[in-house]
């Protein structure tokens, strides 16, 4: 048993922290208001090797562990949720799916570009009528000669308008529902592939979220990703992995809010003493610290299992469910500790609270995580 980070993981984390302090902290408010991240920031993130974290070096990735990736996401999120979400989704979804299911040719074709950040990746599963229930996907892919013809639409697609590539899940056999789904790699500029409405959100505003529309998009056969009708099986694995990222993101949002609260509570004086001297405030901080540590341990536990190639579906669900809730509570209490100031945009707490809400919804709602966990009811609940 070991509860420590390796030297490499600590170094990576320290680098990301320094980067966030120097180049993100002051700017994040503006990005939130602009509802976009500047290109130079994404380039820097890519130059640090954060756009293909778990992809092996032979494909241009950084080849670091799932634990290290979780550290990076946590650290980014402590300063800016939108940037963390962009990095997390680019890594886990589009890039992760191509690495997981792609053949050698596809890996060599797409991964170096994605890992270097020259291209951003989007991933399309959700549809207007099919959110938690992927079996209801209505986007279709029909074989016509040497082409697949895609029709339909996807929504809530992160990096949908700024991504060069999009992995899209479509039904190749509607009669088989989720067992008739297949993944395809689409490229911006393909005729009939367009960006629909930009989605205006409560939080994570600097992260790009749009609808994608497919009107008779002709997709070459070699763009089919993984086996036909096996898209759902791969998708479940991608979601399991992605949940570790969102859990780490939640941990970071909560920790950023907690750190800000501790600093504020030491500065701010009322009734002749710092807020930090009052038990009402101490209690909030103690609860935040404990819950966020618990959340972080669940997250690294799932990541470490993944690194050891052991099953981690239930652990990822627990981590994602608990971390999202802990982050919401922490951000909410952070706004409370900051009082009126916490409610203003002058401080980053209201943004953190808005950003945190995404973690209870994206990559499977809290309710879906509980559904996953309830499958363990007829099995054993925990290894303890």
């Amino acid at each position: 048993m070991d509860f420590s980070l390796t030297d490499d993981e600590q170094l990576l984390r320290a680098n990301v922290r320094a980067f966030c302090r120097a180049e993100v902290a002051e700017q994040a408010k503006q990005w939130d208001e602009d509802e976009r991240l500047p290109e130079h920031i994404l380039r820097k993130v890519a130059d640090m090797g954060l756009m293909g974290m778990q992809v092996p070096e032979q494909y241009g990735g950084a080849g670091v562990s799932a634990v290290a990736s979780a550290c990076v996401i946590e650290e980014l999120a402590a300063t800016d949720g939108s940037l963390a979400l962009t990095v997390a989704s680019h890594n886990a979804l589009c890039t992760g799916h191509i690495f997981l299911a792609g053949n050698e040719q596809q890996r060599h074709k797409y991964l170096p570009e994605l890992c270097s950040g020259r291209a951003l990746g989007a991933w399309g599963l959700t549809e207007p009528g099919s959110g938690s229930d992927a079996a209801g996907a209505r986007t279709t892919a029909v074989r016509r000669g040497e082409r697949w013809i895609l029709n339909g639409s996807k929504t809530f697609i992160t990096q949908g308008s700024i991504g060069k590539y999009a992995v899209v899940i479509a039904s190749t056999d509607p009669s088989k529902k989720q067992h008739g789904l297949t993944a395809f790699v689409l490229e911006r500029g393909m005729p009939g592939f367009s960006v629909g409405k930009k989605i205006e959100k409560l939080g994570m505003r600097a992260s790009d979220t749009v609808e994608l529309v497919f009107e008779d998009v002709e997709v070459p056969l070699e763009n089919q990703l993984g086996e036909q009708n096996r898209g759902f099986v791969d998708t479940l694995q991608i979601l399991d992995r992605g949940r570790i990222g969102i859990a780490a993101l939640a941990c970071g949002l909560g920790r950023g809010a907690m750190d800000a609260s501790i600093a504020y509570a030491r500065e701010r004086k009322q009734f002749g003493q710092p807020l930090a001297a009052f038990q009402a405030i101490q209690w909030k901080i103690a609860n935040m610290a404990t819950e966020l540590d618990a959340a972080w341990l669940l997250t690294v536990c799932a990541a470490a299992l993944r690194d050891q190639s052991k099953p981690f579906t239930f652990e990822a669900a627990k981590a994602k469910l608990y971390s999202a809730q802990a982050a919401m509570r922490a951000c909410n209490e952070a706004v409370q500790i900051h009082g009126g100031y916490g409610y203003t945009r002058e401080f980053p707490l209201e943004r953190a609270l808005r950003d945190a809400k995404l973690c209870e919804i994206g990559e499977g709602t809290n309710e879906i995580q509980r559904l996953v966990l309830s499958r363990a009811i007829s099995q054993r609940f925990s290894r303890a």
Partner: protein, 388 residues
């Protein structure tokens, strides 16, 4: 590198504790809870298995399996019988404290007896009627004499107070400030002048005795002094920090037992034509408990790992204790809810789990004390980080 797998030793002692718990403790638990008294027989069997000296060196009669293994043992025992577990926990801590602060002679004199069950179990005597969370208001006094010390005062809430053969007793040897001036002593259960009071009637842990102790001019030799004069609070802190890992593990064990009962019941019980496990209302409760108890387990193991590697673990032990006790209580409450009316009866064990879990939010430092410790430690760490 993060790694959550266990060693062979840890797995072995966990399995041995599990089968002891399932075969010996579980069948006796309901009866022990109902009739009260003290689980002499179970404790002597636990001693034979080495469970009274899990983190104690082999040369002193322990099994030297480490803190993580200790935590595993406590979790397993508590799944079956929290009352017996609490006596085991305190006795282990007494042995550990003597290993840390005792002289070679004290270690050789007392630790093998504790591990072998020759003292039945050990006990801690820290709390007093007027000194609970705040030990600086302690009034028991120890005066030096030509041969040693005379201790005079009264103690309260002493676990295993009816039967323990050896106590660590804290007394004032000088007046403050604060906790300075408090000294720890080893006092045998048969010391003249030591009177064991009547066990308290408690909500739970009914098979564990909790008594007052009266010390009327109890004479002890120089060899009774544990650690340094006036610096006994350090001994108490070490016992409490380590004890918190134990209490957290106990709470987790009880919580896991409650979830397991609820899970089985939910699969078995049919309403509206289906097992109630098919309803999301029930699934949600079980899922939340599973996630929370898993988090508790990791907090506990982290604190145990830090202690095992001789690193600071005060903050982590407090977090583990706060979180595990509160979430275990919640899990027990949900388990009763899932059982419905049956859960409220003594026909099912969940009402006992609920009663047994509740004390974990109070003893070994209340939840409020844990939050004080955590807030202080977090602020301190933050200050250091900010300065660097």
């Amino acid at each position: 590198m993060f790694d959550f797998s266990e060693t062979e030793t840890q797995a072995m002692i966990r399995d041995s504790a599990r089968s002891f718990a399932e075969q010996v403790l579980a069948p006796r638990a309901a009866e022990l809870d109902r009739t009260g008294g003290f689980p002499d027989k179970s404790l002597s069997q636990a001693a034979q298995l080495g469970l009274l000296g899990v983190n104690v060196p082999e040369r002193l009669g322990g099994v030297e399996a480490g803190v993580i293994a200790y935590s595993h043992v406590v979790i397993e025992l508590a799944k079956a019988c929290a009352s017996t577990t609490v006596a085991v926990c305190v006795s282990n801590m007494v042995a550990e404290v003597i290993c840390s602060f005792g002289t070679v002679e004290q270690q050789q004199e007392h630790v093998p007896k504790l591990c072998a069950g020759a003292y039945k179990v050990g006990g801690f005597a820290l709390s007093e009627p007027g000194a609970g969370s705040d030990p600086s208001s302690m009034r028991t006094r120890a005066r030096p004499t030509d041969h040693g010390w005379v201790i005079d005062g009264s103690k309260l809430w002493i676990t295993s107070g009816s039967d323990a053969g050896l106590f660590v007793v804290w007394a004032r040897t000088s007046d403050g400030p604060g906790t300075h001036g408090i000294t720890a002593f080893l006092v045998r259960g048969d010391a003249p002048g030591l009177r064991r009071g009547k066990p308290e009637h408690k909500m739970g842990l009914c098979g564990s005795t909790t008594t007052p102790l009266e010390l009327s001019d109890v004479e002890v030799g120089r060899d009774a002094l544990l650690g340094q004069v006036d610096k006994g609070f350090r001994v108490a802190m070490m016992a409490l920090d380590g004890g918190r890992i134990g209490v957290a593990s106990q709470a987790l064990g009880v919580g896991l037992a409650a979830v397991e009962s609820a899970r089985r019941y939910a699969l078995d019980r049919r309403q509206f034509g289906a097992p109630i496990a098919n309803f999301q209302a029930i699934q949600w409760m079980l899922a939340d408990s599973a996630a929370e108890l898993e988090a508790a387990r990791l907090l506990i193991l982290r604190a145990a790992w830090l202690k095992e590697n001789s690193r600071a673990f005060t903050r982590e032990a407090s977090m583990a204790k706060l979180f595990a006790s509160e979430r275990a209580c919640r899990a027990c409450d949900r388990a009763i809810q899932i059982h419905g009316g049956y859960g409220y009866t003594r026909e099912f064990p969940v009402e006992r789990y609920f009663r047994d879990a509740r004390v974990a939010m109070i003893y070994e430092g209340t939840s409020e004390i844990q939050r004080m410790v955590i807030a202080r430690e977090v602020a301190r760490r933050f200050q250091r980080a900010g300065a660097s």
